[in-house]
């Protein structure tokens, strides 16, 4: 369970990014966060990754207060979370296979385990034939599928997908959302931020709407309303 408890984030220049956000995400839930640019969606997920610290309030994962993590504990915690971003964030000097195996290496997995699991996730995202290509040799949709493969390979408890379809055409967008749904069906919590009305309406899952750093709607079976 993830708990955001009265989170407020004010940047040093006085900009209020989040204001009194309280939110609970249950295990295995698929939550979409929607809102205009600057509404605070990305800041909220950054809190969960411990990339940003709240000015006031607490973020819990299970019983763990994420804000109290020491610097050397953060990377251990991040291994519980898979991340997918709009700009893919792949390592340009590593092949598709190595980008995925890198995440496993970080978790201290052995060579045999890596050799067994990487082909499996590549198959899941339908990229077995691109294993030895470099990111610059892939299309946007393929890059995002690599990012998803990397995010799921360590079987994380949560996947954060921050605007994962922002750079993709409708067909690739559908592919990505389909994969995320499949991952959620297998029991992983998904937190998705997006602008895409079509995606939200087709999902039929919980939707949280944000505006100017506040939650304005929280619908169990939501639609895109802005």
């Amino acid at each position: 369970m993830i708990v955001f408890d009265k989170i407020t984030k004010v940047y040093p220049d006085g900009t209020v990014a989040l204001e009194g956000i309280s939110l609970i995400v249950e295990p295995k839930e698929f939550v979409s966060i929607v809102g205009h640019s600057g509404a605070g969606k990305t800041t909220l997920v950054k809190m969960l990754l411990s990339e940003e610290k709240p000015t006031s309030g607490k973020v819990f994962y299970e019983s763990l207060n994420i804000n109290h993590l020491k610097k050397h504990e953060i990377h251990h915690f991040r291994r519980k979370i898979g991340t997918v971003f709009q700009d893919f964030k792949l390592l340009p000097n590593k092949t598709v296979y190595e980008n995925i195996s890198f995440a496993m290496e970080m978790s201290g997995r052995g060579e045999e385990e890596i050799a067994a699991d990487v082909p499996h996730v590549l198959e899941l995202v339908d990229l077995s034939n691109k294993a030895y290509n470099f990111p610059h040799e892939l299309s946007g949709g393929e890059k995002q599928r690599v990012a998803i493969a990397r995010a799921i390979v360590n079987q994380p408890d949560i996947i954060i997908a921050d605007e994962p379809t922002g750079n993709l055409d409708p067909i690739n967008t559908n592919d990505i959302i389909h994969i995320l749904k499949k991952i959620n069906d297998l029991g992983t919590t998904i937190i998705l931020t997006t602008h895409n009305k079509g995606v939200i309406d087709s999902l039929g899952k919980r939707v949280i709407t944000m505006e100017k750093g506040k939650i304005v709607r929280d619908d169990k079976l939501g639609r895109y309303v802005l």
Binding site: H72, R79, T83, P92, M106
Partner: protein, 310 residues
């Protein structure tokens, strides 16, 4: 686990180094220039020391003895000089030898030889040629001889030393001493400035290559990489850069010194640069590999550290 991590860090570092092709090449080139400067300064230092030694060897202080001085007394003076710590060597030329040398020197000068014959006997006294370890020490030696000539080195109250030519040589010796000192000081400053500038340039080049990889660093951290895992490969790449540059310079200088020696050896007043390089090879190897590895790893470490702090 430790070995697995080390193996992965090394593999990743070397892979990045090779795959970064052009960027790695530019770092290697800049590092090569730095090591080139360091090596050149070492070789120039060797050449300077050699030529200063040559000049120093040409300077000496001569003690002329009176013709009546006994050889045993002169040899005892020689012995007393040889035990002085500042004296490097003392050469004894007997009065007979001095006469032979004189005659040889003036063998085509009949007038002088005739005059010598007319004098009858040997008008030349014995001489001691003293070489000091350092030109600045001649003053001390001359003072010792001055003091001694009125004391212990006198023969039955009579002074056996006719003259010490330190005073005539003093100007040359003083000038030489000050030139050597200035050249040494200047040389050290030049070396420090050149080496510092090239180190700063190398540091900046490596920092730039890591600046270009800053997004990669943030991705690594997001994926859950520990700081060892992030820093490690960059440090390995930096070390690879240092090692390759050191190898290039070691080979290049073997060729350069050989060529210089072969074609332009005469300009170096007998200084065998290739021989100097080969006899000091182990030292060069140590300095070049040491500076390459330290520069590469330290620059990488500091540059990555900057992006890990945020």
């Amino acid at each position: 686990m430790f070995w697995l991590t080390t193996k992965r860090v090394f593999k990743s570092g070397l892979q990045n180094f090779i795959r970064n092709g052009f960027v790695s090449l530019s770092s290697v080139l800049v590092m090569t220039v730095t090591l080139f400067i360091i090596t050149s300064i070492i070789l120039l230092g060797g050449f300077f020391n050699y030529s200063l030694d040559q000049v120093k060897n040409k300077v000496d202080v001569n003690v002329y003895f009176v013709t009546t001085a006994k050889e045993s007394d002169i040899l005892s003076v020689k012995k007393s000089l040889e035990v002085m710590p500042e004296v490097s060597s003392v050469e004894y030329i007997s009065s007979d030898q001095a006469l032979i040398n004189f005659k040889n020197k003036h063998q085509d000068d009949n007038l002088t030889l005739q005059a010598l014959d007319e004098l009858g006997g040997n008008p030349l006294g014995a001489t001691l040629n003293i070489k000091a370890k350092d030109p600045s020490q001649y003053a001390g030696i001359a003072k010792y001889l001055d003091d001694a000539s009125s004391g212990a080195l006198s023969q039955g109250g009579l002074n056996i030393i006719d003259k010490v030519n330190y005073a005539q040589n003093k100007i040359v010796i003083d000038r030489l001493t000050s030139i050597i000192k200035s050249v040494n000081v200047l040389g050290v400053w030049f070396a420090i400035i050149f080496i510092l500038v090239s180190i700063v340039v190398t540091f900046n080049t490596i920092r730039l290559t890591i600046f270009m990889a800053r997004d990669e660093i943030s991705v690594m951290r997001l994926v859950g990489a520990s700081s060892t895992y992030v820093k490690g490969p960059f440090i390995v790449s930096g070390i690879s850069c240092g090692i390759i540059s050191a190898i290039i310079i070691l080979i290049a200088f073997a060729l350069i010194t050989f060529t210089i020696n072969h074609y332009y050896g005469s300009y170096f007043v007998g200084f065998d640069m290739f021989k100097y390089y080969t006899t000091h090879f182990l030292r060069m190897f140590g300095i070049l590999f040491g500076s390459g590895i330290i520069l590469g790893s330290l620059a990488s470490y500091l540059a990555v550290q900057k992006y890990l702090r945020n």
